[in-house]
Symmetry: C2
Subunit: 415 residues, 2 copies
């Protein structure tokens, strides 16, 4: 893909409004642009990474038997009145009236809509369990939007909902999502902790947050380092370094960015909205529900927050917008352009390739390339006359002079 | 994929609110469910077809060098005041105020936002032309939403915008989109006509509509049957059967559903929003713009409108939610389930397979299968004891008894 066609408006100057590194780099490297406070456009590079994250999510959720659907953003107030949340939700719920003066909300979450959809359909134990998910734009009118995509007013969420006939079935589904979330965040190369929020109550209040470790996190998490899952309960009065209550480790302390949350909802919505099923004994019961959410655009930003240096982003392979950045030092030199175009063609059989064909100075191209942060950089310059090109990996300092004929093998072996 | 996990709420009864066949079948076959007037949830089967249509669109637009981005649904009123449309658009524009009483629109289209994004970036002839597109949820507060996804209030659009330095560059881009649209609708198996709306004016008013031929269409199109493109101008006073003015064919008359529209916008937005570039002579000029749109959810419904019989949908291969529907006659019979599961595994190497594992009567399964309309049906019943299964193609009446061992070859050859 030619960079000249891609729309990557890199900035020379540090954007003043950005307080955190990921936000700075996403603006400077031309990944996003603000349209209004807390409202952003995802430019082509960002969208490519976003789609890779979404693909990982779909693969992991499909693997546990969840099915994807797509619910509307516009939600009629009636559903929120049924659940009781229309009057509880406050100013973060974006509300509007249609031309007939009917009230609507712009969905920040979809418990009401999904319950409405499955109600009277999942009406027998024979049809349960079912897990449904979507990846969708959500809306929250944050009082103080900040940190770019971290706390925006329009953002992309993956929300999932499970419907189960009893507590043990819900437990099973919940565990599957728990493991799927671990897989998803691991595949996104995030350094994260699963933090159990409450494990005591029977019948619906167990929940677990997935926290990306970061100094800019707004949540404080306390956890013991050797237990399987971190915990933010009971131990929060203990000093750092003390033994954890369960005696299995040491209390650590960190700040975290919440990127995921899984929750046993129980019958909160199915009861108020009358979503019942007939059990094996022929009696009617409220369906048990679980809900599961990933902040997709927040994951994107968290990855950058954890993967960068003073020159720009350092993309992990799994979510990089492209694998390889080919830099043509002098696009007016026909020989360089021909070699670069041929390399692009060859490499594209196996990798995603961005080719910087712009008429810019080499210095600009190199600094833009570091900023954009693709894993592999291939520079096509004067040395092609001797049959060589330069290869550099974004996460290492070393540069390699590689014979043109050996390039594909070299990348296959080292990338 | 197991049908029991997929959430396909088929209905026995004819839905009363549906006036057209595609709407009826989408409701009855469990593809969509209405959440409010003109607002629908896409259930898993519909979403799968929708994604295939989207993939076709992406492939064809990427092929002409357009780049994908994603703009926000929430648009600040300031941008619409700049273009002048805030006060012109009327009641179909959904409007809301945020918690700070600032005005926003829910985007029905994105000319203002895209012009805002490229302004000051595409500031030189060296950076032009650029074409950008998105596939996104749009909002229009229709006075009378009807026909399901045909005229909804929340719908999925593919909108694209081109930025060009002069009329000949815009012409070139416009022609590329024209051809891409022909490819897209052809790949979607639609019977359509490209209808030139106006071809006279220089500098920005040429446009072309892509019309799916259908009796339920709300637009009337008149065209000559042998000219390359149909036309709805100049000829609309002539009777059906008369020679067309260009003398190249005969005047036909049909009703059409508009599924796409390409348009040379010229400087309408770039002028009012001051998006200029420096031309080769060093002078500042307004960028020339083109805009291009496909009603993605409307395409989905149009395909069904053109591909059905009295039993249900007949999916064309390219956009079917799955290729093959395996019906287990008796899921309690371990042998049948084992054979069906093995076949699913084998077929999934090459095809997308839905397996009806529900505990329902065979009659229900067959009628649901016809309703859902996957191209190939494989029935696993008693005859497996003799080593046979039944294969039927949705668009033909004939049934084939095929040896289990020969099934894959049989499908490869006949599908």
């Amino acid at each position: 893909m030619k960079q000249s066609l891609l729309f990557v408006p890199t900035l020379r100057d540090e954007p003043k409004e950005a307080e955190i590194i990921s936000h700075k780099y996403m603006l400077r490297a031309g990944y996003i642009k603000q349209v209004a406070a807390g409202i952003y456009a995802y430019l082509p590079l960002a969208l490519r990474s976003l789609k890779k994250i979404e693909k990982i999510i779909r693969e992991e959720l499909d693997a546990i038997g969840a099915s994807e659907l797509l619910m509307p953003a516009l939600q009629p107030a009636e559903l929120w009145l049924e659940s009781g949340r229309w009057n509880q939700y406050g100013d973060t719920l974006m509300r509007l009236k249609d031309r007939h003066e009917r009230d609507f909300a712009l969905g920040p979450t979809h418990e009401e809509v999904i319950t409405f959809l499955v109600k009277d359909v999942l009406n027998s134990y024979k049809k349960l369990p079912v897990s449904l998910y979507q990846i969708q734009t959500k809306f929250r009118d944050e009082l103080r939007p900040r940190f770019g995509l971290m706390r925006g007013r329009e953002f992309i969420m993956n929300d999932a909902y499970s419907f189960n006939e009893n507590a043990s079935s819900l437990d099973e589904t919940y565990e599957k999502f728990h493991q799927a979330y671990i897989n998803i965040f691991t595949r996104c190369s995030l350094d994260f902790r699963a933090v159990q929020a409450d494990s005591g109550n029977i019948g619906g209040s167990e929940s677990c947050e997935f926290m990306v470790l970061s100094d800019i996190g707004e949540d404080t998490i306390v956890y013991s380092d050797s237990s399987e899952f971190a915990s933010n309960i009971e131990v929060h009065n203990l000093p750092v370094g003390a033994p954890s209550p369960d005696g299995k480790g040491t209390i650590l302390h960190a700040k975290g960015i919440e990127v995921g949350h899984i929750f046993k909802l129980g019958t909160k919505y199915t009861n108020s909205m009358k979503a019942q099923f007939t059990n094996e004994e022929g009696n009617r019961e409220d369906i048990l529900m679980g809900c599961y959410g990933i902040g997709v655009s927040r994951v994107l930003m968290s990855i950058i927050e954890q993967n960068n240096d003073d020159k720009g982003i350092i993309w992990p392979k799994s979510v990089a917008p492209f694998d390889i950045h080919i830099i043509i030092i002098d696009p007016k030199n026909n020989n360089q352009t021909a070699v670069a175009t041929q390399l692009e063609k060859t490499l594209e059989k196996r990798y995603e390739v961005l080719i910087d064909d712009r008429f810019e100075r080499p210095g600009v191209k190199f600094s833009d390339s570091d900023l954009i942060g693709l894993p592999v950089r291939v520079t096509v310059g004067k040395n092609i006359d001797n049959g060589f090109i330069e290869v550099k990996f974004r996460d290492k300092d070393e540069k390699f002079e590689v014979k043109i004929a050996d390039l594909v093998d070299f990348i296959n072996e080292n990338y």
